[in-house]
Each structure stands twice: as structure tokens, then as C-alpha cells.
Symmetry: C3
């Protein structure tokens, strides 16, 4: 026969499957990706929140959510600042 | 009479109401808003994580969490990089 | 003896301890920290998503996830754009 303990145990197990512990502790994490030239791509699953460009250039745009593109005529390097939610 | 099945069903329903599935799958999403002049505003609910300015300018500040303001004397366009948590 | 009500009450209490309400309502929040010189640090727990530099400079990197470092030879101020997940 079912008891409170057995019901609780089964529900806890079901809950664990539905809602992994990571859901509780997600936080913002970011990394920087540097590339030579005018384009720098974030790793899969990450999104560009800002870009930095060589030669003091502050003009850039973001392509496809995850690629930094520096817009000045002469650019030696590009950095993508890439973020995601993580455990 | 209550059975394990009926209890489980009721608890699942209650849990669904309390904690919508979206809570589990929230992720970071961003978009860019471009405007002419020195100010660009994020859409409602989004927050500026960085700004890009015309004329190679890298000096900017953020007003009210969601407005990018480029600070160089001559600016033709401003881009706000706007992010939020979304489903 | 246990009833549906008492079981439900105990499970709700257990669930509250495991999963605080804040987990449901977390959102992105950001602030800007301005400092003189070439370095600006985010407050504890926050992460730099982008940087702004004086003298129109758009070249920067991020050290240790939370320190903005402007890279141009002459820099009077640095702003770190700092974000986190919050209630």
C-alpha cells in the first residue's frame, strides 16, 4: 500500500526528472573571443553583447546574434564579448 | 477516495500553475537597435549591454538602463545592443 | 492520519525550501561603473558585457570576467557595463 513516504519519494523522483537542479542556479557568464580581421564569432550557444575593435574603433554591428563585425576601414583585430546563461 | 494517481494528478496540475514551463528554458536573447543621431533606445523590457557609435567613436554611456548615448562631438548613428531573458 | 490536504501542505513546504520564488522571476539587470584611468571594475557578482572608453577609444578587453580595460595610449576614463541575473 502507498504511504506518505512512498508518495513523497515518487513525487521527488518525478520532480527531479522534470526540473533539473541547474534551473535554480543559472547565472550569466561571458567570455571574449578575439580574431584577426574585422569579424569575431561567439562559440555555439553564446550571444554577442558587445564588440571591441582594434585601432581605437568603436563602430561595430552584430550579425546573426553572435558575430561581431568592426566597421572602420582599417581594423587589425576584433573581439566579441559573448554571454549565455549557464549553471 | 484519493489514490496515488489522483494525488499525483492534482499536484502536477498545481505545479503547472505555479511554475510555467518557460521558467525552465529561459535563455539570453539580444537584438540591435540603430538610430540616427546620438541616442538609441532598447525596446520595452530589454536592457542595453553595450553601444556602438558612428565615426569610430567608442565613448558612450547608458541612460535609464536602456538608452545608448554616444558621446563624441560628431555622431551620425548610434546602435544599442539590447538583451533580455526570454523563453 | 495523513490526508490529501496534509500531504499537499507538506509537499508545498518542501518545494518552497527547494525552489525559492525568485527562481521564477529572475531577469537581466545591468549597471555602469565609471572610473578614471584605464580600468573599471564591476561590483561583486556582476559580469562585464561591454566597455566604454574616453577619448573616443573603442579598443578594450575584459580581465577576469569583470574588469574593463581600455587599450588606447591616452585614456582619461573607463566605463564597465556590468550585468547579472537578479530577482
Amino acid at each position: 500500500e502507498e504511504t506518505l513516504d512512498s508518495v513523497t519519494k515518487k513525487l521527488k523522483e518525478a520532480r527531479r526528472l522534470e526540473r533539473p537542479p541547474s534551473a535554480m542556479t543559472k547565472r550569466l557568464s561571458c567570455t571574449s573571443i578575439k580574431a584577426s580581421g574585422t569579424l569575431a564569432s561567439c562559440p555555439p550557444g553564446m550571444i554577442a553583447t558587445g564588440c571591441s575593435c582594434g585601432f581605437a574603433c568603436g563602430s561595430w554591428n552584430v550579425q546573426n546574434e553572435n558575430i561581431c563585425h568592426c566597421l572602420c576601414p582599417i581594423i587589425d583585430w576584433t573581439v566579441a564579448r559573448c554571454c549565455q546563461m549557464s549553471k
